[in-house]
Amino acid sequence: MNSSGWLFLGARLSLAIAVGLGVGALLGAAWAGLAVVLVIYLSVLLADLSRVLRWLRRDEPELAPEIAGPWGDLVAMIVRLYRRKQFHKLRLLRLLRELRRSTAAMPDGVVVLNPQAEILWFNRTAARLLGLRGKSDIGLRIENLVRSPEFVRYLRGGQYALPVILRSTVGVEQYLSVQIVPYGAGQLLALVRDVTHQARLEAMRKDFVANASHELRSPLTVISGYLETLTQDAAIDPAIAGPLQEMRRQSARMTGIVQDLLELSRLESSDSSAPEQPIDVVALMAQLRRDVLARPLHPAQVLMHADSSLKLLGEDEMIHSAFANLVDNAAKYTAPEGSLQMRWWTDDQGGHFSVTDTGIGIAADHIPRLTERFYRVDSGRSRATGGSGLGLAIVKHVLQRHGAQLSIESQEGRGSNFTCHFPRERLERAT
């Protein structure tokens, strides 16, 4: 508080006392004069106080009373405090409104849920996509309105790492991706996106790959057939025998790629999990070992360790193709003096099949991308060994359909280790 109020008060008070004393002295009763002046002064102060109180009680800060002295200062300060609060409040309100408006205008649908999954708030996009209605749906449980069993399972399951894709069949066909994000104290945020376009594109892509590979297969068969006859023809000019051989090799490689593509699209087209046929992994390993040893160039040592005789439950052909791909890769990238080791073991987590080699290895930054289609660590080397570039993609898909995972460890120049981890449900129960 500045001192002007006090100065004013002091000046007025001393003036009043002086006048009171002076007038009192003239009339011969100085003390009585002083008392009268003080009483008047006190009542003025009290009147001011009551005005201030009345003003505060009325709750109309704009109509501040005009008062001089310390009460005036007090009023001015209250007004200042009020204005500052008002300013902050307005700023917050504006911010909140902007925030709401921006969330409402978001292209993605947003629904805020409380721990009981009751709807607290949603934006316009969410209303459009999920068919929610204005204020009347606030407070209802979201699962009562979005009743797709898949969504209810997702909501109650509590596993929110991945979004769930819902297909709505009412009216136009529509695919929605819904992801729940927990935040705060048990609150949930549901993000809704229309993925119809992506789903259609994905379906088209799959169809295209399947059809294209299918169409390519027949002409390729014809070409390979003729090339085979030609290369075996003794009367052929030796000058073109070399090119013919090369053509035959390349057409064989192309056939391999087309076959792998077909296999991949077959794996992709069904999302159901693989059937549960018992597979004798030990016998499969023995067969794979024979296949490796039958190659013209193969690692000197091909070892197999079977620590368990438990059978794996899965689809025979798919598992064979996945394991063969892993073993094939290992054999291809390992020098003849190196070694290759297959291992099958089971523990509390489930079954594990690993292939370890002492080959050329893979640099760490390539490992995460290895299972992409046509991904080449080094374009020169895989072409020379005649791979299709799809082997590991097939392995990944096969394992996905068996609920299994692939882990890759590798050191450049030292060798690599590929391990498939199967869940316990995929093992035959020990008798």
């Binding site: 407070g139 209802l140 009562n144 309105l145 069993p149 009412v170």
Partner: protein, 243 residues
């Protein structure tokens, strides 16, 4: 909104029980909705495996009905609900019966779809059945929405919608008869299609019943076997009196 009536309860646990029953009914409704969608997809796409899967999954609907029924009986016995709560329980018991019947109709469609998938499909690929199916699907969806929101206006609107289904049913019936007369070889398929549209029409009727239970639940007025116009007039009068 009337839904608020259910939430103002002295006993919080009772409240939760009622809410849980509602959620279970709607979960059952959601499952039946999916069954309907899948059975129609099986028919239109000629997917016999899907048709069989739908028929097989009907036991889940029956299981849900039994479990909800038990829960309702338990609430009646232990809580002795009154007024709105009692109406809700009564309406729920009736609703799940209709839902279960809808599930049975879906099972039938699934069976027939599996059978029809093995024979040649008509040139129009069951377009009219698909259209009727869409109408019935949206009817089902609106019905369950009305149940979830206790929305009488929507329930009334959906009740009226049932007439559209009946008309379409008649039209397909006539069309089927024409086809069968033109070419007796299509009689077998024609009869099966008739069964499917008949099932769809029945589903429409069950949906209408559920809408009537919604009206009963909210207003305590039984509108079965009375004309909807009359009920609407009464509603308007009551609203006028309140004003």
């Amino acid at each position: 909104m009337d839904a608020a009536d259910l939430t103002h309860h002295t006993s919080k646990r009772f409240n939760e029980e009622l809410e849980r029953v509602r959620t279970k009914v709607l979960a059952m409704g959601g499952f039946v909705e999916e069954q309907l969608g899948r059975s129609l997809t099986a028919l239109v796409d000629g997917d016999s495996a899907l048709g069989r899967a739908v028929a097989q999954d009907d036991y889940k609907v029956n299981g849900m009905e039994v479990s909800i029924d038990e829960e309702c009986s338990r609430i009646l016995a232990t809580r002795a609900p009154a007024a709105g709560d009692l109406r809700m329980i009564v309406a729920t018991i009736k609703t799940i019966t209709d839902l279960e019947r809808i599930g049975d109709e879906c099972e039938k469609i699934g069976h027939i779809a599996a059978r029809l998938a093995t024979i040649e499909r008509p040139a129009n690929r069951y377009r009219e059945v698909k259209h009727l199916g869409r109408t019935v699907q949206s009817l089902m969806h609106d019905t369950l929405d009305a149940f979830a929101r206790l929305d009488v206006d929507m329930a009334l609107k959906t009740c009226r919608q049932d007439r559209v289904v009946d008309e379409e049913y008649e039209a397909i019936q006539r069309q089927c008869i024409t086809f069968m007369m033109e070419d007796p070889r299509t009689i077998r398929r024609g009869l099966d299609v008739m069964w499917v549209v008949r099932s769809l029409e029945r589903i429409g009727d069950h949906a209408k019943n559920i809408c009537e239970y919604v009206i009963y639940m909210v207003h305590g007025k039984d509108v079965r076997h009375t004309s909807l116009d009359q009920f609407e007039r009464e509603l308007a009068e009551r609203a006028g009196q309140q004003r």
